[in-house]
Symmetry: C2
Subunit: 355 residues, 2 copies
Amino acid sequence: MAQEKKGEQAGKISAENTTVQFQREQNKITIGDVAEALGVSKTTVSRAISGKGRIGEATRQRVLEYIKENHYRPNVVAKGLAKSKTYNIGWVMPGDSNVTELPFFQRCMLGISEVAAAYDYDILLSMVFDHDISKLKSVVKNRKVDGIILGRTLVEDESVSFLKKSDMPFVVIGSSNDEDVIQIDNDHMEACKELTSIIIMKGIKKLALIGGSMEHVVNQTRRKGFEMALAEQELGSDAGMIYMDCETDSMVEHALEQCLCEKAECIICTDDRVCTAVLNKLNRDGISIPEQIKVASFYDSIMLDNYKPAITSLCYDPKELGMVACTTLFDYIAGKRVQKKVLLGYDVVLRGSTK
Amino acid sequence: MAQEKKGEQAGKISAENTTVQFQREQNKITIGDVAEALGVSKTTVSRAISGKGRIGEATRQRVLEYIKENHYRPNVVAKGLAKSKTYNIGWVMPGDSNVTELPFFQRCMLGISEVAAAYDYDILLSMVFDHDISKLKSVVKNRKVDGIILGRTLVEDESVSFLKKSDMPFVVIGSSNDEDVIQIDNDHMEACKELTSIIIMKGIKKLALIGGSMEHVVNQTRRKGFEMALAEQELGSDAGMIYMDCETDSMVEHALEQCLCEKAECIICTDDRVCTAVLNKLNRDGISIPEQIKVASFYDSIMLDNYKPAITSLCYDPKELGMVACTTLFDYIAGKRVQKKVLLGYDVVLRGSTK
DNA sequence: TTGAAAGCGCTAACAA
DNA sequence: TTGTTAGCGCTTTCAA
C-alpha cells in the first residue's frame, strides 16, 4: 500500500486502517514545459491558447494538439495574477438561522452558478450576519473576487455602505433605497398592489396586512403596494389595518387577534413565516378558511405547499433573479452601461384560501 | 460627477440617471511600495508580516506600524501563487430542485463557513447535478481550491470517483460505501435502529418503512437500521414491510395503500418529503393520527414543524456536520492523520404522532 | 509570425 | 538581523 499508482488518490493508510494521511503529489505541467517540449516560446503557447496575437496556424495546431494529448491546463490563479483578475465573484448571503431555512437563496445560487459557469467564473461564498459583515470585508480587502452579488438588503445596510466605499463592483438582489446601487428585484410593489386589488374586487371590504420587519426593504415595498391598492380602490381609511414588525410568532398572533376584533375579512401576510403563524392560530381557534376568514400571502413557499386549503399567494422566480443579477454584474465589470434598477415579473396565484 | 472623490464608488452616472458604468480605480499598494517607503527589502516586510524568519523587533514594529497606517493588505492571490495554495476550499452541493428546498445544505455551509474563516480560508461553491459534475471538475482542474467538501454522496458517485483519481484532498458529508473515503456523518444506522426499537417497545407489532431512493447511501443505512431493530426485537419476518425508492408522491401513496391493506400500525418515513406525502394522504382519507395509525420520520424539518399532531422524528445538527467536515479537511491537508469515518450524534424526539 | 524579457505581488533559499 | 535573487505560472510589450 506504500507504493501507489500515479493517478490514484495519494493517501497513506494506517495499520488499523481507520485513519489516513495526505501526501502531496506533484504532477503539474506548466506552460514552460509545453513550450520546451515543442521548442517554441512560452509566448507562442500562450497565444495559441488565448487565440490573441498573431500566430501561424500550423504552430497553433501543433500547440493545441500537444496540450490536448498531455492534458495541460493553464493555471487560472497565475493567469489571474498576471491579468489582475480572480475569476471569482462573491456571493453574499445572510447566515441568520431563520433565513437559512428559506430555499430562496439556494435558488438564487442556482441561477448565479449557471451564469458564472458560462463566463468561466467561480462563486466565492460569504455568509454575513446582520451586524457582522467581517467575511464580506475580508473577501473584498483580500481581493479574492472581481465583483459581488449581495443576496439581501436591509434598509440601513452595512454591507452596501461598505461596498460603496470600496472600489469593488457589486449588485444587490432585492431593493435598496439607495439610488446609486445596482439592484435586481421582482416588482413587489406592483405584485402586492395587484393581489390586494383582486381581493378587494372580490368584494372584501375590510382587510388586514400582517408583516415582518420593516428593516427589510422588501417589507416596506409590500406595505406600499398594499396601501396603493387600498387608495386606488377607494376604500375608506379604516378598511385596511396594518401590523408590521411582527418578528415572532406571538407578535403575529397578537396582531391577528386585533384583526379578528376589528372584523377583518381577509388577512394578508407579507411572507410565509408570518402566514404559517396566522394559519396555526386560526386552526387552533377553530376558525375556518375561507368560510369565516380569507387568507393570502405575498410570498409562497413549500411551507405552505401542503396546506389545505391552498393559500393564495404571489410567486416569484429566485433563479431568474440570480441569473439576471449575475449577468448584470458581468456586464458592469466589463465596463458596459447597465440599468440601475431591474424589476422582474411575478405571478398572482389565486387558490382556495380566498375563494 | 465626472470627478469622484477617491474612496467613493467608481461609477459614471448617465444623463437619465438610470444606468451606470464602472470605471476601474487603481489604488493598490504592494509589498514593494512598503519596502521602498521604509528603505528595507521586500523580504523584511514579508517577514514582519508572517512572523517567520528572524527579524529585529525594532524593524518589525516599524513595518507593522507603517502597514497599519497605510492600510496595506498583502495580495492573497499572489501569496497563494508563491506558496502553491489558493486559500479556498471547495464546497460541492447538489443543485437538483427538490434538494435545494432543504435547509440542510445551508446549515452545513454555516458550519463550514465558520471553521474556514478561522483558518483564513474562503469557500468556493460548486453546484453539481446527479449526472453533470462538470463544475466540480473545472474547479479541481483549474486548481482553484486546496481541498473539497462533498455535501452529499450517492451509492455510485461520480464526484467521488473523479476526486479519488485526482490528487485533490476531499472529505464527504454523509456516508460512502467506499472505505477509502474520509466521511463525516451522523450515526443514522444507530439512530434509525433506536427509534424503531422504541416504537416496537411501545407495543407496535406491525410496522412499515416507506423510503426514498436507494441511490442515496443514507437511505440504505436507514433501511439497515430499521431492519436491525426488527431483528433485535425478534419480531416475525412479516412484522416489517419495506417500500423503498418511492421517489414521487404517487409512489409514496401507492406504498401507503399497501401498508394500510397489510394493517401496518405505524408508518416510518425515511425523510420528510416522504412523510409529507404520507400525512397528506392519511389526512385526505380521514385516517387520524395517532389514533388509527402512528407515524414517525427518520428526518425532521420545518416542513413538519407545524403539523398537528407533531411528528416523532430523529434530529441532527447539520451545522456541526459542516464544522467537523471542515476541520477534518484542514487537518488532512496539513498532513495530519485523520479518522476515516466520523459519526456524529442524534436526538430521538418522541412527539404526538406516536402517542 | 515568433521570441526575449519584464512584470503581476508575493515567498524562500542562500548570502552577507 | 537583513538583503539579493530566483522563482510561483502566466501575460504582454517590444523587438526581431
